[in-house]
C-alpha cells in the first residue's frame, strides 16, 4: 500500500516567541492503519522537532493526547487516518488555556477533580489487620461505568456550559463524585454535596449531553449528573418534610 499524503494544519503557539497562535501546515505520507498520533510523531521525528504535544500510551487508556481534530474533541491515538479526509485541522483542546502548541494548561481541571473528594470515605476506617472493605459484584455494577473515566478532559472541551462559565465543576468531576456516592463502601455523599449540589455543580448543567457523546470510554457523565440531580431533589423535599434531619 502506498501512503496517502495528508495535509495537517496545526495550530502552533510558543509564548516565548509569538504574540498569538498561528497555523502551520505539514504534508505527511500516512499509512492507512495509522492514527493521528502516528502522523504527529512522524512530524516530530522527520519534519519539525519543535512541535509539542502530550502523549503516552497510544492505546486510549492514559488520556494524555486529547486535541481538537477537525473541530471535534478527540484522542489522537484513537482517531484513525482511514476515517479522515486529505486535509486535517488540529488544534489544542477548546476551553483550556494553551501552554505551548497542542499542550493545554490542566490546573483548573485537576483542581475540580480534587474538589469533589474523589476517594473512599468509609463509615469506619479499617486498619490493615482488619482487612479490606468488601463489595459484591452487584454493588460494583451500580457504579462501574463511572470508574472508567481516564481524565482525558474531552468532555470539558465539548461542554457548552463550561465554555460559558469556567467555574462550572464540569462533567468528569461530577461523574467522579457520583461514582463514589454510588459506592456501597462510601458514606461521603454529604461531604461532597457542598460542591456537587451547588449552583456551579450539577445545577449548572443544562443537559446538552455533548460530554457523553465525546467520551472515549462510554462513561456517560451527562447521565451521572442527571441521576445526581434527581437524588438532590429528593434531599430538598425530605428537608422540607423533616427539617433538621440528618442526611
Amino acid at each position: 500500500m502506498t501512503p496517502r499524503r495528508i495535509e495537517f494544519e496545526i495550530l502552533r503557539y510558543d509564548p516565548d516567541k509569538m504574540q498569538k497562535p498561528e497555523f502551520q501546515t505539514y504534508l505527511v505520507p500516512c499509512e492507512e492503519d495509522w492514527v493521528v498520533l502516528d502522523a504527529l510523531n512522524y512530524i516530530k521525528d522527520e519534519l519539525d522537532r519543535t512541535l509539542s504535544y502530550r502523549w503516552s500510551c497510544h492505546m486510549a487508556v492514559c488520556g494524555s493526547c486529547s486535541m481538537m481534530i477537525n473541530g471535534e474533541p478527540t484522542l489522537s491515538c484513537k482517531s484513525f487516518v482511514r476515517d479522515l479526509p486529505n486535509q486535517v485541522c488540529i488544534e489544542p483542546l477548546n476551553n483550556f488555556p494553551i501552554e505551548r502548541d497542542l499542550v493545554v494548561v490542566l490546573d483548573d481541571f485537576l483542581g475540580k477533580l480534587n474538589s469533589v473528594k474523589p476517594y473512599l470515605i468509609p463509615r469506619e476506617k479499617k486498619s490493615l489487620e482488619e482487612g479490606v472493605y468488601l463489595q459484591s459484584p452487584a454493588q460494583l455494577k451500580k457504579f462501574k461505568q463511572f470508574t472508567l473515566c481516564i481524565n482525558c478532559t474531552l468532555c470539558y472541551a465539548a461542554c457548552p456550559q463550561y465554555a460559558h462559565d469556567e467555574n462550572f465543576v464540569g462533567p468528569a468531576a461530577l461523574a467522579l463524585a457520583h461514582r463514589y456516592n454510588l459506592d456501597s463502601r462510601d458514606v461521603g455523599r454529604t461531604a461532597r454535596q457542598d460542591v456537587v449540589a451547588s449552583n456551579l455543580g450539577i445545577w449548572e448543567c443544562s443537559f446538552v449531553g455533548a460530554c457523553s457523546e465525546v467520551c472515549p470510554h462510554g462513561v456517560d457523565p451527562a447521565g451521572a449528573i442527571q441521576q445526581a440531580k434527581i437524588a438532590s431533589t429528593g434531599d430538598y423535599f425530605m428537608d422540607l418534610i423533616l427539617p433538621g434531619r440528618k442526611s
Partner: protein, 369 residues
C-alpha cells in the same frame, strides 16, 4: 539519574517479553484472553506450544500449561517457530494467531470487551470472527535501581519505587500484575521513608556540594542549547538503539550477539555527544526532554548488555543460546551494574536472600506432577 549518581542497577539482564502484543503498535492483548480459553496458532493453524514442553493441548483451558504457561516460555516458543519459518508474515513483521473464536460473541463481549475493541480498532480484526495477529513485545524491566524493602537506596534520602526500582519481588521473571505491588506497597514505603527523613532534617540551605551539582546540570543543558550542527537526531539514534537491543539482547542472547550490541551501543553513545537540539524554547520543550531521555536510555541499554554478557547461564527471561542451563552454583546471585562515566559499567554480584520460595525445576504442561 540514580545510576549516574552512584546507585547500582540490579538484575538489569532480566527483561520481560509479553507474548501477545499487536504488531506495529505493540499494544498488549491481555493474558486474560488466554485465561478465558484463547489459543495460539502458527501459520498451519497448529497449537505450536505443545512442541515446547507446554503440552499436551487438551483438556483446555487448564493452569500452567500451553497458552497459560509463563510469559518467557511463550515468547521463546515464538522465537523458535519464527526460526522454523512457521510464523505468519505481515507488513509489521512476523506474527502468530491468537484465536478467540471458540469463546463466542457473548463471552468475548462480557469478559474481553477491551480486547475486541483494541483488535477491531488497531488491526482491523474482529476476534469474534477472525484470529488476532500477535507477537512478543518488550514489556517490563525486572531489574532497576537497587533498593531494600523500605524502598531506600544506597544514597541517603533517595527512594525508589515502581518499574524503575528493583526491590527484587520479581526475580528473573515476573508474574502479571506484580507492578501494582511495586507501586502500591513500595510506593507507600518510599513516601513514608522520605517523609521521615524530611521531618528529621533541618537543613534549609542546600550544601555547596548540591549547589555545585545543580550548576553542573544546568551547564549541561545550556551547552545543549548552545550547540549547533551536530547532525545526530533523537529518532535516528533511538531507532538504531531499538534494533541493536532487539537483535543482540532480545528473547535469546549469545556471547557474540551481546558483544556486537555492546560495540554498537558504545558507538551510539559516542555519537550522542553530537546530538542537536532543534527546539530552543523554554516552554514545554519536548525535544529537550527526548534528548535527556535518550541519553539515559543509552546508559540503561549498556547496563542491560554488560549484565547479560557476564551472566553465563539461562535463567527466567535471560536466555543464552551458548549457556542453556541454569547454574545455581555460580549465578544464584543478583548482578549489580555500577556506573563508570564513558565506559561499560562494572558488574559485581550479591547473594540472593531466599525465604519461602525455594528455587526449583520449572516444569509445565504434562511434565507436572
Amino acid at each position: 539519574m540514580a545510576f549516574r549518581a552512584g546507585v547500582p542497577l540490579k538484575d538489569m539482564e532480566f527483561v520481560q517479553y509479553h507474548p501477545t502484543g499487536l504488531p506495529g503498535t505493540g499494544i498488549l492483548i491481555t493474558e486474560g484472553s488466554r485465561g478465558e480459553g484463547g489459543v495460539l496458532l502458527n501459520k498451519d493453524g497448529y497449537r505450536y506450544l505443545q512442541d515446547y514442553d507446554l503440552g499436551p493441548p487438551d483438556p483446555w483451558p487448564r493452569k500452567n500449561a500451553m497458552e497459560l504457561g509463563p510469559r518467557d516460555r511463550l515468547s521463546q516458543a515464538f522465537w523458535h517457530e519464527q526460526k522454523k519459518g512457521r510464523t505468519i508474515k505481515t507488513l509489521h513483521g512476523d506474527v502468530v494467531h491468537l484465536d478467540l473464536r471458540a469463546l463466542g460473541e457473548k463471552k468475548i463481549n462480557e469478559r474481553l470487551p477491551m480486547v475486541r475493541d483494541l483488535a477491531k480498532s488497531y488491526v482491523g480484526v474482529d476476534p469474534v470472527y477472525a484470529p488476532i495477529p500477535v507477537r512478543p513485545v518488550v514489556h517490563y524491566t525486572m531489574g532497576g535501581i537497587d533498593s531494600n524493602i523500605d524502598a531506600a537506596t544506597s544514597i541517603e534520602g533517595l527512594f525508589t519505587a515502581g518499574e524503575c526500582a528493583c526491590v527484587s519481588i520479581n526475580g528473573a521473571n515476573r508474574l502479571g500484575s506484580n507492578s501494582l505491588t511495586e507501586l502500591l506497597v513500595f510506593g507507600a514505603r518510599a513516601g513514608q521513608g522520605a517523609a521521615r527523613i524530611a521531618a528529621g532534617s533541618h537543613k534549609t540551605n542546600p550544601g555547596s556540594a548540591i549547589q555545585k551539582q545543580a550548576e553542573a546540570a544546568e551547564g549541561r543543558i545550556k551547552k545543549l542549547f548552545g550547540a549547533n550542527g551536530g547532525g545526530e537526531t533523537v529518532s535516528g539514534l533511538r531507532d538504531e538503539m531499538n534494533t541493536t537491543m532487539e537483535e543482540g539482547a532480545g528473547i535469546y542472547r549469545t556471547d557474540a550477539s551481546l558483544r556486537q550490541s555492546c560495540e554498537k551501543m558504545n558507538d551510539i553513545g559516542k555519537r550522542f555527544a553530537n546530538i542537536e537540539l532543534k527546539d530552543k524554547s523554554n516552554v514545554y520543550n519536548t525535544d529537550l526532554l527526548h534528548v535527556l531521555e535518550l541519553g539515559a536510555m543509552i546508559d540503561v541499554a549498556r547496563a542491560i548488555i554488560v549484565s547479560a554478557l557476564q551472566r553465563k547461564e539461562s535463567r527466567g527471561s535471560h536466555q543464552r543460546l551458548d549457556f542453556i542451563k541454569r547454574d545455581d552454583k555460580t549465578y544464584l546471585r543478583h548482578s549489580l551494574a555500577h556506573y563508570v562515566p564513558g565506559q561499560d559499567p562494572d558488574i559485581t554480584y550479591r547473594d540472593v536472600v531466599i525465604t519461602r520460595s525455594k528455587p526449583g525445576t520449572r516444569v509445565y504442561g504434562g511434565g507436572q506432577k
